[in-house]
Symmetry: C2
């Protein structure tokens, strides 16, 4: 059995393209429909109620596009909106938190794990919860790193200022003895090289984008939802507001082939 419908992926903006990149690498025959809510980015500084409302709207736009699965390529939305999405949607929903937590538990030897993300993701405690449900005695250090996303969006992926900010954020964790670090924001894989340089070889990096793609493949296999083997695969990118400089940064850094980017407005209450 096979299923030609697209994989639907949404994020608050462009960052979720790291998940798309991982999906394209792992599942080259799948059609991917990516929806970035650039009109309302960033979700990371918004209240859980607001994030839940936006997320459901994005997910419904994906199911209207006939998505066979909805991938929440946004840690903030995965943190706070996943139960609501699972309740409201008739297709499977996969976030980035649980796959990342599983990979971290598999990687750690000292059972001491670090997690970095946006303020909203860290404040939600979702990674701690997911990690502890897998290993109740795990020690977890978590830290919000609000400067990393803007540095990435400026394209400062290999830059001394970024290296200093990374050191500032991570030094307390490495001093405290973590042996595994979860990149709990879909932007962060773009800094994987810089972060790995700081961490050295002794500390494992868990890339939530790559682990999420693995979980999508497993689910498609389990439910016989893979595209027919000979399908060419494709990527369609739709945004809710015109992209800025970061689309160029992401496209180049990920070496992702993106055709024409479409725009679709979310409805607004303004009387204009």
């Amino acid at each position: 059995m096979s299923d030609s419908r697209p994989i639907g992926v949404f994020d608050s903006g462009i960052g979720g393209l790291t998940v798309v990149k991982a999906l394209r690498d792992l599942l080259p025959g799948e059609k991917i429909f990516y929806l970035g809510d650039t009109a309302r980015i960033p979700y990371g500084s918004r209240s859980p109620t607001t994030v839940g409302r936006y997320s459901l709207e994005m997910a419904e736009m994906l199911t209207e596009e006939n998505a066979k699965i909805v991938v929440v390529a946004c840690n903030t939305a995965s943190s706070v909106a996943l139960p609501k999405l699972k309740e409201h949607l008739s297709v499977p929903v996969i976030g980035v938190i649980e796959p990342g937590a599983r990979a971290a538990v598999a990687a750690t030897r000292s059972r001491h794990v670090g997690v970095i993300g946006t303020r909203a993701t860290i404040r939600s405690g979702s990674y701690e919860k997911a990690l502890r449900s897998l290993d109740a005695d795990l020690r977890v250090n978590s830290r919000a790193c609000p400067l990393l996303v803007p540095l990435i969006e400026e394209g400062l992926l290999d830059d001394e200022v970024t290296d200093r900010v990374i050191a500032r954020y991570l030094e307390p964790m490495t001093n405290d003895g973590i042996d595994t670090l979860v990149l709990g924001c879909t932007h962060y894989p773009l800094l994987a090289a810089a972060i790995a340089r700081f961490l050295g070889e002794e500390i494992s990096l868990v890339d939530s984008a790559r682990n999420c793609a693995g979980a999508v493949r497993d689910l498609l296999d389990r439910q016989s939802l893979r595209a027919p083997a000979k399908n060419p695969g494709s990527l369609e990118v739709t945004l809710t507001d015109a992209p800025d400089n970061f689309l160029r940064v992401a496209r180049e850094a990920l070496q992702l082939e993106i055709g024409e980017v479409r725009l679709r407005e979310v409805l607004h209450p303004a009387k204009v």
Copy 2:
């Protein structure tokens, strides 16, 4: 003649509190109603159409609060939405661009001015336009500085990383010979000390928040709209989504007395 109605001030978030601080200092007897659109921040990365729509909605919420004047304490909204607001509103509207441009033209001796702001403000070319309409032969260097807002919101107002980023952004301008720099974003006055340290004494800093407050005072005087002399003055802050860490940063750095912060939702299309 006098007028007890409040001065309405809006911004895409908390940054406009620098304008409020300047208004409180200059016009201590006025009531100020501040509305921060934290649910949809940042305007700086959005399209002009979207910014126009959001701005009109915010301005109408202020006139519903009986504002006698609407102050657009947001450079992005001032750049792209001022004509639309003036057309739709029955009360006077003042933005931050023109007062800043006037002050810069008054300050420069070499007639070579620098402007820094968000991507949207710089891309709009509004400062160049306002500056050149005052002095057609002025030389203007402008530069988008997208990292400054997140650094400010992290509270890194006096920090080596921030100093490096400032130097990176401003060095080409100072090398090129500007003698005046316009802080074209209402967040930036919080970095005025750090920026002045980099610029030295030879280069004038134009604080658009302070100049905007001066323009408000002049307009109230011209139109006999000042509050009665013995009024105590007050500040009410309303946001469209729960504030994050930056409210604490701004409150401390500005030494602004803010009572209870109210929340008011903007309408959304989601079916939740």
